[in-house]
């Protein structure tokens, strides 16, 4: 049996998406900027996808910019707003969190290092949640942009984006310097309310390969009148905000992907069953992240006394894919910054495993994972000098 529980890393291309992109891989290969019929066909496809995404987000089509993925969209959201900032007399201030994706954190750090912005990195509570009052307290007169992710990619915590959005809107009524609000919604698209007006956001990032489209496509929603400058230079594509020939195949796929999204409660039920059974049947295991404010597809466990990479290798040997916060699985040998920020406990970061379900995950697969997990955890604990359990 082979069980893929790493949907937060990437997802397989959905058959319906494969079908709609096929013509653009073959006969309809035109460049959308060309005037001839090949080009016009490609342009029509790009326009349609833009409309699909606008509809999905309750936005206007000209508020959607296609990018090479979530990372570029995050870079554009943050750098684009900072570069467009006309305050000149003072440095803009940004607020973000310590548990953002590196696409946000490293972009902020880069701006900081180059003297283009000052940044406050909010520390979440143990469940990985950023409080509204924390955001409120961090706001300064020169605050220009707040970027808080919608759903955390590691621990699955869902942030109170709508509440933060409303707070910012209220603050903006009496401020000289308007604050713009960005959310990285890469992990949220399939399960959360993505209506940008409901959320009160100005900028929102989505990515294709997390929702059944190919890798290499993403989009940034930019609310009308949000100051924005391009960060990639060249042609006039994407309303002058993203140079480069459009990734027609990816764009068509992303449009189809969002149009296929239907909120189901099958995944959350299966996830709850999985969490409950693991916590009940394996001793000394804890759940990372919030129990209530949690993405329906995410389960992240801390297995005491053992290390993540050796768990992952053993899982892989029985055909199960998951991922870990352990330093040993990263090239940098640094443990997960998300788990470190929530717990300040390296052992916990090393011993934690993330399982992320997809809409095609079955109960049979979950049973298979639980059965193997028990054996693996037991085997590794027997080997661990930290384990003083029953011998």
């Amino acid at each position: 049996m082979r069980v893929y529980l790493d949907y937060a890393a990437t997802s397989p291309i959905k058959p319906e998406i494969r079908k709609v992109i096929e013509p653009y891989l073959t006969a309809d290969f035109g460049n959308p900027s060309s005037i001839h019929s090949w080009g016009r066909k490609a342009r029509a496809a790009v326009d349609e996808a833009r409309n699909q995404i606008a509809k999905f987000l309750n936005a206007d089509a000209n508020e959607i910019i296609f990018t090479s993925g979530g990372t570029e969209a995050d870079n554009l959201a943050i750098r684009g707003v900072v570069i467009a900032f006309k305050g000149a007399t003072h440095k803009p201030h940004l607020i973000t969190s310590q548990i953002e994706h590196h696409a946000v954190i490293k972009t902020c750090e880069h701006l900081e290092k180059n003297g283009l912005a000052e940044v406050t990195y909010l520390k979440p509570n143990r469940e990985g949640i950023i409080g509204i009052s924390q955001v409120k307290k961090a706001i300064k007169s020169n605050t220009l942009l707040i970027s808080i992710m919608y759903v955390n990619n590691e621990i699955g915590t869902v942030q109170p984006i709508r509440e933060i959005g409303k707070l910012i809107e209220k603050e903006n009524r009496t401020r000289k310097q308007r604050i713009y609000f960005h959310t990285d919604a890469v992990q949220a698209a399939e399960y959360q309310n993505m209506n940008v007006d409901f959320l009160h956001v100005d900028l929102l990032t989505i990515s294709g390969h997390k929702i059944g489209a190919p890798k290499g496509i993403g989009a940034l929603y930019i609310r009308k009148n949000t100051p924005m400058k391009e960060i990639i230079f060249g042609g006039e594509q994407e309303m002058n905000l993203r140079a480069g020939t459009e990734n027609v195949v990816g764009i068509v796929a992303l449009g189809k992907a969002v149009s296929l999204i239907k909120i189901n409660n099958k995944t959350i039920k299966l996830r709850d069953y999985f969490i409950e059974k693991v916590l009940k049947e394996i001793p000394e295991v804890e759940l990372n992240g919030s129990k209530e404010n949690r993405s329906p597809n995410n389960a992240n466990f801390y297995f005491k006394y053992i290390e993540g990479e050796s768990i992952l290798l053993n899982l892989d040997l029985v055909g199960i894919a998951a991922s870990s916060g352990s330093a040993c699985t990263s090239q940098s040998l640094q443990p997960s910054h998300v788990l470190m920020s929530c717990f300040d406990h390296p052992e916990r970061a090393h011993g934690s495993i993330r399982f992320t379900l997809g809409e095609i995950t079955t109960k049979e697969e979950i049973e298979y994972v639980i059965k193997n997990l028990k054996v693996i955890v037991n085997k590794l604990r027997e080997m661990s000098p930290l384990y003083k359990g029953k011998k």
Binding site: E307, Q331, P346, M383, S384, L386
Partner: protein, 133 residues
Amino acid sequence: MSDISNLYSKKVMDHFQHPQNMGKIKNPSGSGRVGNPVCGDLMELQIKIEKKKGKEVITDAKFQTFGCGAAIATSSIMTELIIGKTLGEAQKITNKAVIEALDGLPPVKRHCSVLAEEALQKAIKSYQENKKM
């Protein structure tokens, strides 16, 4: 089944899946605990040393390890490398010998072989200190 050999050699995976000499020795002659769970690796190596024909020989070795695949494999192979060796021979075993015996380790995992060497040196040292008492 996908090919895991682009991550670790077959030898590493063999030792990871079937670790040799895992556990504890009842009355060890020496033991060495190195690494730190904070860094993600903790290795404990115990050795039994007996006099044979006037020479001090490692007659048994056991390990317990908290760590990644490479940490487990280096501990396991270390016990194999030292059992039957005289103290003098064992003292010459370096982390390079451990890497070679495993048919290589990925560059980011070389520190695991260093850890195995340190565990051995520490175990031998503790034996020598015990002897003095």
